[in-house]
């Protein structure tokens, strides 16, 4: 297992370098000058030219790229052009907020999604099934900004139970976690349902039933363990996605997280900050996939056996 994890981590290094290179080239191809964007309407050509030179933005691309790479290898992602703060600091300060949001949203989506999927599968084509599937369809298809506004209006404006936006304690986490969790819950519920229905057709389920096990036992002990394998993969990747920043949710609820930093970096062509944010997101996605693979092996003995053989 350890060998497997190590090998996966080593393989991801070229992926990381490749991504930084592609990003660097793309950002240099698209038009846009970070200094002009910082100055907005007050951009004056003389000042822009001078400040660009002072920031070494006029150096050849290849020089800038290798400067970035050399510094990154020493753990220095440079300074944000617009915010004039170390990129690592900015990301590390924003990450706990995003982490909290991601964990809460993931919990909401699992707590709702998995039971909803199981109930729908067990009571297939019943009213419960239709209700949960309708509910999850709504979650998947409703844009986050819309569900956010709706919930803000009901719970903050009308009922005055929760704050509208901000990030000053657990109360402020409830609405964004529900908004973000709801859309993920939809995916998880639908996947759990279809996967469980698939598993329920297998012979070993018939055997379990034939030996007189109660239906609850059949589902929880036999069916669910196998049905959850694809769900776990999605869950791990979803968490990685959530951690790299839930842009719209963070904007609407004014949460100072990684997503907002990334979007600001894109729109202001803040190259060092964007490089840092993308590297960060890439690492998270790679780790998410790794965790999914490891969980797979824990849940599925066939994969565990395959891993041992490979190692």
């Amino acid at each position: 297992m350890l060998m497997f994890a190590l090998r996966r981590i080593l393989v991801s290094i070229p992926v990381l370098i490749g991504i930084t290179m592609i990003l660097f080239i793309m950002l240099n191809v698209v038009p846009g000058d970070p200094v002009a964007l910082m100055m907005k309407e007050h951009a004056s050509p003389d000042v822009i030219a001078r400040v660009r030179a002072q920031m070494h933005l006029d150096d050849p691309m290849i020089v800038r790229y290798f400067r970035f790479l050399a510094n990154a290898l020493q753990g220095d992602l440079g300074n944000s052009i617009k915010l004039n703060r170390p990129v690592t600091d900015l990301l590390l300060k924003a990450f706990p907020n995003t982490l909290m949001l991601a964990v809460c949203a993931a919990l909401v989506s699992w707590v709702i999604g998995i039971p909803a999927g199981v109930l729908s599968a067990v009571r297939r084509d019943s009213l419960i099934d239709r209700f949960f599937m309708g509910f999850s369809l709504l979650g998947v298809s409703m844009p986050v900004f819309w569900s956010a506004l709706l919930l803000q209006y009901i719970f903050a404006m009308q009922l005055r139970l929760l704050p509208v936006s901000g990030f000053y304690g657990w109360k402020y986490m409830i609405l964004p976690a529900i908004v973000l969790g709801w859309s993920s819950a939809g995916v998880i519920a639908r996947l759990t349902r279809s996967s469980l229905l698939e598993v329920m057709r297998h012979d070993y389920i018939r055997t379990a039933r034939a030996k007189g096990l109660r239906e609850t036992g059949v589902i929880t002990r036999h069916a669910l363990k196998n049905a959850l394998i694809p769900v776990v993969t999605i869950m791990a990747i979803q968490v990685a996605g959530l951690l790299s920043g839930a842009v719209i949710t963070e904007s609407i609820f004014s949460i100072p997280g990684v997503g907002r930093i990334t979007v600001n970096a894109i729109s202001s062509r803040d190259m060092p900050l964007l490089q840092g944010a993308v590297l960060f997101a890439t690492v998270l996605v790679i780790l998410g996939n790794l965790v999914a693979d490891i969980l797979y092996s824990v849940l599925d003995p066939r994969i565990r056996a395959q891993m041992k053989k490979d190692a």
């Binding site: 698209v30 038009p31 846009g32 000058d33 200094v35 002009a36 964007l37 910082m38 100055m39 907005k40 309407e41 007050h42 951009a43 004056s44 050509p45 003389d46 000042v47 822009i48 001078r50 400040v51 002072q54 920031m55 617009k82 915010l83 004039n84 703060r85 900015l90 300060k93 924003a94 506004l149 803000q152 209006y153 903050a156 404006m157 005055r160 704050p163 509208v164 936006s165 901000g166 990030f167 904007s251 609407i252 609820f253 004014s254 100072p256 907002r260 930093i261 600001n264 729109s267 062509r269």
Partner: protein
């Protein structure tokens, strides 16, 4: 009444939860918002978000709002000044006993240091434009000198600034937020971190920066030792709220005290029509002008007749009425109402029939295809206005398409002088016509803002006006320039100036819309009950 211990406990817990729920009720705090993080309090490093500099620092002179859309220059850190007869030497006498937030006393050396810091290439300042008139400034900026020859501390309380050539708007420029004064020892020690955190920010202003959470909020606290007397407020909370719907809900659920309707313009009719809020609206004109840029480097706008037709084909009053609920006035010149030297210009009539004739004369009897441009991230109001204009000018024969490149692409094209006609607004940074004329119609401005109005007489007159000391003659020249640029050259389309509307909670007192109509202002005199 005698309170039992149980009642006391209940009362205490009730009060505590009230304080937690609504901090503003518990203390004398004003809660405002901005759509973006200001990034820094250092006024030399920003060109657009000035709430922090305007409240944390002071300037040698200040622009004080004297009435709706009107201002006058009043003494700030300098209690008096003299200008030499040739308009080249400014001598400022500093106020005695002014203290920075860290307790240090302001001296002339701090002023010299502050301006030298701005021009020092190592600072990479963005606001250098306001000091380039000082003798030796260009050499310092280019790294050819270690100091600025035109900056001198004559003694502890006297600063002498010598200009390279007379510049009539210099005093007005020194009242701009970018000219905020810093303390040498503190700022040198803070290095490039100055203004980024409460620990590395220090000014003489009415408020002290106490907390700064990036992308979330900034908390300012009253400066008890402020030289003009302590501000009325104990605290000022600036929250970063990017979404306009969220902002409105925050205001209506009493989590924000001031709602700037510039950040939520579509809510204007709602608040004007609301019995609860209509009396809480605070409105004022702004010294700013909405305009259409015309790029003469692109056909068919190389022909003055087409440009004139474009001016006449836009029904500006309808835009004010429909898109801004009638809260604005038409402008016909380069200078908006409230600006020094303003005089009404020759009105531009809305006349689609005449515009059609002019197009035919210019060789487009069957109309002409044109493109209007706007950056994709500009707010909804710009696309609404462009669409209404697109429909209006069709009557004169302009078949317009609207392109929406992303902001970076748009800015890059504009810098190269290659954008299509675009609509924008410019509000005065300082109360002088040079802030408008030089920005748009000087030789560098005309190219970098994609006008390409290559009129050598206009270029020469704009440079001449900068140095004129006789204010009356100078104003006359700006009025003549207006007639030439808008009338003869038809180089841009003046549209209108709009009122700036705010809604404030009933407990907010003394809220005055600043003279320039900016969203950023000093909250020194504002009170909450």
């Amino acid at each position: 009444m005698i309170l039992t211990p149980k009642m006391k406990l209940l009362l205490a817990s009730g009060l505590a939860s009230l304080m937690l729920m609504s901090p503003a009720l518990a203390e004398n705090m004003l809660r405002i918002s901005n759509t973006e993080d200001p990034k820094t309090a250092d006024a030399q490093m920003t060109t657009d978000l000035y709430t922090l500099p305007l409240n944390i620092f002071d300037r040698l002179v200040e622009s004080e709002t004297t009435g709706p859309g009107q201002s006058s220059l009043v003494p700030g850190l300098a209690e008096s000044w003299e200008v030499s007869a040739d308009g080249l030497t400014y001598t400022f006498h500093l106020r005695a006993g002014v203290k920075f937030h860290d307790g240090a006393v302001l001296s002339a050396d701090d002023v010299v240091y502050t301006f030298d810091r701005m021009l020092n290439p190592a600072t990479k300042a963005l606001n250098t434009d306001i000091l380039t008139f000082i003798a030796g400034a260009e050499d310092r900026l280019d790294g050819k000198a270690d100091s600025v020859s035109g900056l001198k501390a004559l003694d502890d309380h006297t600063v002498q600034i010598t200009l390279a050539q007379p510049y009539a708007a210099f005093l007005a420029l020194l009242a701009a937020p970018g000219a905020s004064i810093y303390e040498r020892a503190f700022t040198e020690a803070a290095g490039d971190q100055f203004g980024l955190t409460p620990e590395t920010t220090n000014g003489t202003g009415p408020f002290i920066l106490r907390d700064y959470t990036l992308n979330d909020s900034q908390m300012l606290e009253a400066n008890d030792d402020y030289w003009r007397g302590r501000p009325e407020l104990d605290r000022l909370l600036v929250r970063v709220v990017a979404d306009s719907e969220t902002l409105r809900m925050l205001f209506e659920s009493d989590e924000i005290d001031v709602l700037d309707l510039d950040y939520a313009p579509t809510q204007t009719p709602y608040f004007y029509g609301s019995d609860t809020w209509k009396d809480q609206i605070r409105s004022g004109p702004r010294v700013g002008i909405y305009y259409y840029n015309i790029n003469q480097a692109q056909k068919p706008f190389d022909d003055v007749r087409v440009r004139k037709a474009f001016q006449m084909a836009i029904d500006r009053q309808t835009i004010v009425d429909k898109n801004f609920y009638g809260k604005g006035k038409l402008e016909d010149g380069v200078m908006p109402r409230g600006l020094t030297c303003y005089a009404p210009a020759e009105p531009i009539a809305y006349d689609p029939a005449k515009a059609k004739e002019l197009l035919a004369e210019a060789g487009y009897p069957d109309g002409v295809d044109i493109t209007l441009s706007q950056a994709a991230n500009w707010s909804q109001k710009w696309s609404d206005m462009n669409q209404i204009v697109q429909a209006q000018i069709a009557a004169a024969g302009f078949r317009a398409t609207i392109e929406t490149p992303d902001e970076a692409t748009f800015m890059a094209a504009r810098k190269a002088g290659e954008t299509h006609n675009y609509m924008q607004v410019w509000s005065a940074d300082f109360n002088d016509p040079d802030n408008f004329f030089y920005t748009f119609f000087s030789e560098s401005g005309s190219k970098s803002r994609a006008y390409n109005n290559n009129d050598p007489e206009v270029f020469a007159d704009i440079v001449k006006a900068r140095g004129m000391v006789d204010q009356e003659a100078r104003c006359k020249l700006y009025q003549d320039l207006t007639a030439r640029i808008v009338g003869t050259d038809a180089a841009w389309v003046p549209l209108f100036s709009l009122d700036h509307n705010y809604v404030v909670q009933p407990r907010v007192k003394n809220f005055v819309v600043p003279w320039n109509g900016w969203s950023d202002m000093s909250y020194y005199k504002v009170e909450v009950e």
